[in-house]
């Protein structure tokens, strides 16, 4: 059993390694275009809501705590505590997606979603001394939606995994001898948290004070 658990954990880490490459490519695209079209990226970054971004970071860190405590509860066979912690994790996860949805809806109302109604006249108006290229600004918002969208997709998958874990916990499947699903489900959840730990500074923070 011990060896099986180690094999499963290692398998999850190999999968997370491929995920690092998957997100890494998109982070690289963001960093390269930020160098190339700095004005549009900095003003675009200043237009997204830092308060909602910070709240979402806090929500995800809280969910990581409930997951870490949940793995421990599973390990010690505490069924009721585990069920409560999984439900709390699901609430935090759904809360994150809800706040993300509010943020996206704001962008939609501001015509900042790339597409036919894309319009950055409000951003241009806020920075009259810097001529902005709407095409380059679309690139910023395309990467913003691709990165946050891909992350949100991982959150939705994570919620699916934790619903399955809730079912298994309800059935009393976990105990000191067997809690591998909770352990590797937790690894996945923490990984998605780490992706956000990097997305948050890159998208929201680093260009906040640099007025092009």
């Amino acid at each position: 059993m011990e060896q099986q658990k180690e094999a499963s954990t290692l398998g999850m880490w190999v999968f997370l390694g491929t995920e690092i490459m998957f997100f890494g490519g998109m982070f690289l695209a963001y960093l390269v275009y930020r160098l190339k079209y700095y004005n549009e990226f900095a003003t675009g970054s200043q237009s997204i809501d830092i308060t909602l971004g910070t709240i979402n970071t806090v929500v995800l860190i809280c969910s990581s705590l409930t997951v870490a405590l949940g793995v421990k509860a599973a390990q010690r066979g505490k069924r009721k505590l585990l069920i409560v912690l999984i439900i709390l994790t699901l609430i935090f996860g759904l809360g994150f997606l809800g706040i993300k949805g509010i943020e996206w809806y704001q962008k939609y109302q501001e015509h900042h979603v790339p597409g036919i109604s894309f319009n950055i006249s409000d951003i241009q108006h806020a920075h009259p001394q810097t001529p902005l290229n709407p095409g380059h600004a679309q690139l910023y918002f395309s990467l913003y939606f691709a990165l946050t969208g891909l992350h949100a997709l991982h959150m939705i998958i994570g919620i699916g995994i934790f619903l399955a874990l809730l079912w298994m916990a309800w059935k009393g499947r976990f105990g000191p001898d067997y809690y591998t699903p909770m352990e590797i489900g937790g690894l996945y959840w923490h990984f998605v948290d780490i992706v956000w730990i990097y997305l948050f500074p890159l998208l929201y923070l680093i260009d906040r004070k640099h007025i092009p």
């Binding site: 180690e6 970071t57 806090v58 705590l65």
Partner: protein, 95 residues
Amino acid sequence: MSEHIIPSRIYYMIWVTLMVFTVITAAVAFVDLGPFNTVVALIIATFKATLVVLFFMHVKYTSEKMTKTVIICAIFWLGLLLILSLADFATRASG
């Protein structure tokens, strides 16, 4: 199973540290440090990510060397991708 059980106190301490550094990094974003805004934000993010990996993901407590090898390799490849590509793009004469 002789699995190491980590005291909950450690998880709470890590959680508090992560929260404190989230507030610090958000506050620093409003101070103009020039290019160091990026440096400080990424150092704090890396510190937070390291805490999550070591404690929440139990890497500090695992005896499995293959897991650590996989993690180090993944970070190494990511480093190659980012550092070599950015070294290229950042040093081009014309954008």
